[in-house]
């Protein structure tokens, strides 16, 4: 401790900027980790909070995926001896049309039984309505609002509110206002209650419910009730606690969580390199100080612990600031992630609050400190190994010895060989990931050697450009590879990540465009919600004939899509008129033949599955898959595998008749509309809207609008790449500033001589700028190379573990080209301040400097 105070503290004070840059490495790593995880948790918390508040005293919920089920299921549930109270529920997210308020979650409940499960806690309203649910029932336009929503929008009891329903905008009368507690805090307070039968009508449910909430009779355990109900209802139903919905949500968003985990781990690794670089530099610069300490009797372990102590303190301070920065990041991005989740997964939730999980914060703090200590471990060992006699002499301690270079090259070659062997045997998940890690390790080992070789190659070029500045810039890198290698490695890693994610985004993008061009070719799409992914509003199937009768329409295909639980995972069912579909779309199966696919699927004798479902669930052509439904279990063979991006967890395509048979549900989520030759899109769209004006809520999207919507969501999904590019640029700037600051200190005399013999300010600046640009160029070249390999592994990870999609390997040339000016620009910006400090330094001191 005393050494920290006597030795480290003065060093930190003398090198404030470098200390700040070192700490910034950990701040960035921890901030990205905390920011992304907290934002993700906040979305999950928002969802769970809504589920929990709405659940009230509910102990179990009966669902059939998202599809809902017929009313008679309620009688079956209520008849179970272990059930005390069972009430049906419908949930729908509707647009309020009120600017800035977003959507409203409408909960349709049976007021006659529901109050034993949920406490509405009304503060004002018509007592008759509340006390006698039959009065509420008799007035189907009744609605109850939360105080927050009512106050924010100026609603009181008996005021009217217009909501978008499948029947078009409908006026509802506010019959009661809930106090600000419990149930009313669900969905950020944007909650309304209405009668279940009114909800069925308003939201196109027919005679179905979304789920049943129930409490268990005294004397029975929840587990008993669960078993009993599962037995009574069959495998087509899920009987689970309200928390189970949170688990389903987590399972659904697993791909996103995986992406976040990969990004945050890499951010920490990059932070680790900044620390490693800083401590390596500190050790080389403080060799004489270490030598004096050793000469005065300090043991090797005391020197080692001195540096590890410094790194621990840096880790603690950096992590503390990282936590704060992470929470700020989380606050900034939580709403965007919430929107993204809704758009991608079609599940509405509101992340109004930042859910700070002490475990995440504690883990981040711990990881930050451990990362810092681990990063400083090798420099600390090097410091402890310093020979006191040599340390007091001037020497070329920043040069890589030929022996060390050979060792690095040898170890890297072995790692690459083992990684190649792992690729051959990559059937095993562990072997594959070990191979990936070995490739990263080999890249890190080879980085300094390659950087050195490249710097030597670049020297003649730089010398040709600027004889003095160019030579000195290249020589500075060649003479001190240790000083540069950490920064180059950090830039290489971050660019490797950027290239891999950009390549993955590009491949996904191309693949999605191909899919859209083949599968989404109707001229118009008619939806009950402006958000086509929100499936809580549905049309009756009769609308299909009505739309078909509109002049200019040649063909209408009804689509019913809903998530169901298949092998414990939420997957999407898309049920449509396959016969009609086969005549309008060009879909070539990736496994199986098109003719069999259309024939068997249309006849209800087979199922077509998406390639990602096949990969994730290990389904092969010809396998019989079982889909438990409310009215029996579908057991059919897989007749084809197609590329489909309807859902990240996978899609099952079936004929509509099959769906109606097993779900007894003929409602429709979307109509695909083809026009007759000569009919124009604007005309027919106007006719459809006119036909349903005031009668139904109908949104008509053109083919282009739908594709743009999908691409916009895709862009949002891949916006993570932009964050990574920003982190990469920041890392590059930090690393290069760090390296240049040290380089200028090391070369103070050299720069002084340059000035003394006639170097103008512009020429001194030019030397530093060229050095920075060279570091940027080295990082860029190595980063693009590493990225090319990294892309292969990331595509494999996507295929194996994230989305099951097999994406083509296409190197993201455009992104790589864009990175050239970006990284060189970042390097240049990083050099501005160090160059000025080199120019402004005292010439006399520089020449006297030892």
């Amino acid at each position: 401790m005393i050494l920290l105070k006597l030795i480290s503290w003065p060093y930190f004070r003398k090198h404030v900027l470098r200390t700040l840059l070192t700490t910034a490495g950990i701040v960035i790593g921890v901030a990205v980790f905390v920011g992304m995880h907290t934002a993700n948790q906040s979305v999950l918390f928002g969802f769970n909070h809504t589920v929990d508040r709405i659940a009230g005293k509910t102990q179990l919920q009966v669902t059939a995926g998202e599809t809902g089920f017929n009313e008679e299921v309620l009688e079956t549930v209520q008849s179970a001896p272990s059930v005390a109270v069972a009430v049906p529920v419908i949930e729908a997210v509707v647009d309020t049309g009120i600017k800035g308020r977003g959507s409203l979650l409408v909960l349709g409940t049976d007021m006659t039984g529901d109050r034993s499960l949920r406490d509405y806690d009304l503060e004002e309203g018509d007592e008759a309505v509340i006390d006698d649910p039959l009065v509420f029932l008799a007035q189907p336009d009744s609605i109850i609002l939360t105080r927050e929503f009512a106050e924010a929008n100026g609603f009181g009891v008996n005021s009217t509110l217009a909501l978008g329903t499948v029947l078009g905008p409908r006026q509802f009368t506010v019959r009661g206002i809930m106090k600000s507690s419990g149930l009313s805090t669900a969905f950020g307070g944007n909650l309304a209650i209405m009668d279940i039968y009114a909800a069925q009508r308003m939201f196109g449910r027919g005679r179905t419910f979304d789920r049943i909430d129930l409490s268990v009779r005294d004397g029975h355990s929840v587990a008993e009730a669960q078993q009993e109900l599962q037995r009574l209802l069959g495998p087509g139903f899920q009987v689970d606690s309200p928390a189970g919905r949170g688990r389903q949500f987590e399972a659904m968003t697993a791909a996103y969580s995986m992406m976040i985990n990969i990004s945050s781990v890499l951010a920490l690794v990059i932070g680790m390199f900044i620390i490693y670089n800083s401590f390596s530099i500190a050790v080389t610069q403080r060799r004489s100080e270490i030598g004096i300490l050793r000469a005065l009797g300090a043991s090797r372990s005391q020197i080692r612990w001195l540096f590890l102590g410094e790194s621990a303190v840096t880790g603690i301070i950096g992590s503390a600031f990282g936590l704060l920065a992470g929470l700020v990041i989380a606050r900034a991005i939580a709403a965007s992630i919430g929107t993204l989740m809704r758009d991608v997964y079609g599940v509405a939730q509101r992340a109004d609050e930042i859910a700070t999980d002490p475990r995440t914060l504690g883990l981040a703090m711990l990881i930050g400190v451990i990362t810092s200590v681990v990063a400083a471990w090798i420099p600390a060992r090097q410091a402890a190994a310093v020979d006191p006699v040599q340390a007091l002499q001037k020497g070329k301690y920043q040069v890589l010895s030929a022996g060390e270079s050979r060792l690095r090259a040898g170890v890297a070659a072995v790692l690459v060989l083992v990684a190649l062997v792992c690729l051959v045997g990559s059937g095993s998940r562990i072997v594959f990931y070990v191979g990936f890690l070995l490739v990263i390790a080999a890249a890190l080992l080879l980085g300094p050697l390659l950087a050195l070789g490249l710097a030597r190659l670049l020297r003649p070029l730089l010398r040709a450009i600027r004889p003095v500045e160019g030579s000195l810039a290249a020589d500075s890198l060649i003479q001190a590879p240790r000083r540069t290698s950490g920064s180059v490695a950090a830039v290489m890693l971050s660019l490797g990540l950027v290239v891999a994610f950009a390549g993955m985004s590009g491949a996904s993008y191309n693949s999605i465009i191909d899919w859209m061009d083949g599968a989404l070719n109707p001229d118009l799409f008619v939806s009950p919600s402006q958000d086509v992914v929100i499936r809580t509003l549905r049309f009756p199937q009769e609308m299909g004939q009505e739309i078909a009768a509109i002049p200019g329409v040649s063909r209408v295909q009804p689509v019913r899509n809903a998530r169901i639980v298949y092998r414990g995972t939420p997957v999407m069912i898309v049920a449509t008129d396959i016969q009609s579909l086969s005549q309008t779309v060009q879909r070539k199966p990736v496994v199986g033949d098109a003719e069999t696919m259309w024939r068997e699927t249309a006849a209800g004798r087979g199922l077509t599955v998406s390639d990602n479902l096949a990969e994730l669930q290990k389904i092969r052509l010809g396998d019989t898959i079982e889909i438990p439904a409310p009215h029996g279990t579908i057991r059919l063979p897989v007749v084809a595998v197609v590329v489909d991006y309807s859902d990240q967890q996978g899609t099952i395509l079936m004929d509509r008749t099959l769906f109606q048979q097993y779900w007894h549900d003929d409602s429709v989520n979307l109509f695909r509309v083809y026009l007759q030759p000569g009919a124009t899109v604007p005309d027919v769209k106007a006719r459809i809207l006119e036909h349903y004006a005031g009668e139904r809520q109908v949104f008509v999207l053109t083919n282009r609008e739908l594709k743009e919507y999908i691409l916009r969501v895709t862009d949002q999904w891949f916006s993570l790449s932009s964050v990574q590019i920003a982190v990469a640029v920041l890392v590059a700037i930090l690393g290069i500033v760090n390296t240049l600051t040290v380089s200028i200190t090391d070369r103070r005399r050299e720069l002084g001589v340059l000035k003394a013999v006639g170097g103008l300010h512009a020429q001194i600046r030019g030397t530093i700028w060229l050095e920075a640009l060279t570091i940027g160029a080295l990082g860029l070249i190595l980063g693009l190379g590493f990225g090319a390999v990294n892309l292969y592994y990331i595509l494999e990870i996507v295929h194996r573990d994230i989305a099951g999609m097999r994406l083509d390997y296409v190197f993201p040339v455009r992104v790589a080209l864009a990175l050239v000016p970006t990284m060189l620009g970042a390097a240049f910006i990083a050099a501005l301040w160090p160059a000025e400090s080199a120019v402004r330094g005292s010439l006399v001191e520089a020449l006297e400097y030892e």
Partner: protein, 224 residues
């Protein structure tokens, strides 16, 4: 050639230190002058001010009639590269550049073409008898050879003024004597004004004029 007019130089810090106090001095064209004094007397400060490496706290320094006080940093640099050659005690050669590149450095900085730089640098290395060492790096040379490269570099622009700070201070006496003879020879052949800061009385006595400094004041100005 060099005019020092009531020049003082203080260094600010926790305590103010006066390195030079109201010093006035004239060194004529073609003179060879030594400056002597104990450590901390202000002799190097005086040399730095003459060379435009440092600026006085008060007073004026003129080189060839041009006042340095009004010049910007780049203006000072232009004066140095056009009129002054420096020889340092620790040679201050750039370790990564060859002898030829080190000597050619000031010429490159003046924007000379490669061929011309090569020609002049080779000529100067021959002059200091290192024509056979053009491609060697400084670390491959002895101390005396390094100082001769530094002298060649200082002469690369044929400066009218040559400033040397302890040019023999880091050399053994025999090599030091050779270097001194080389400087005297060049002074005679090129007619440069030479100012040498030294601790060594033999070096000082070999010059036609010796200025002694103590505590920031000129205490003796001896012409031989």
């Amino acid at each position: 050639m060099i005019d020092i007019d009531h020049v003082s130089r203080q260094y600010e810090g926790k305590r103010q230190v006066t390195a030079l106090d109201d010093v006035s001095l004239h060194i004529g064209k073609g003179e060879m002058v030594s400056i002597i004094g104990p450590s901390g007397s202000g002799k190097s400060t005086l040399l730095n001010l003459m060379g435009g490496l440092d600026r006085p706290s008060s007073g004026e320094v003129r080189i060839d009639g041009e006042a340095l006080s009004g010049l910007s940093d780049d203006g000072l640099t232009r004066v140095r590269r056009d009129k002054i050659g420096f020889i340092f005690q620790f040679f201050n050669l750039l370790p990564t550049l060859s002898c030829l590149e080190n000597v050619g450095l000031p010429l490159h900085l003046r924007g000379w073409g490669r061929g011309k730089v090569h020609e002049r640098a080779s000529e100067l290395l021959n002059l200091v008898q290192l024509g056979h060492r053009t491609t060697h790096l400084p670390e491959e040379l002895s101390g005396g050879e390094r100082q001769r490269v530094a002298i060649a570099r200082a002469l690369s622009i044929y400066p009218p003024i040559l400033l040397a700070d302890e040019p023999t201070g880091n050399l053994d006496s025999r090599t030091g004597h050779e270097i001194l003879r080389l400087i005297r020879d060049l002074h005679t052949r090129l007619g440069s004004t030479v100012v040498i800061v030294t601790h060594d009385m033999k070096v000082a006595e070999s010059c036609e004029r010796t200025i002694a400094i103590r505590d920031g004041h000129i205490v003796q100005d001896l012409r031989r």
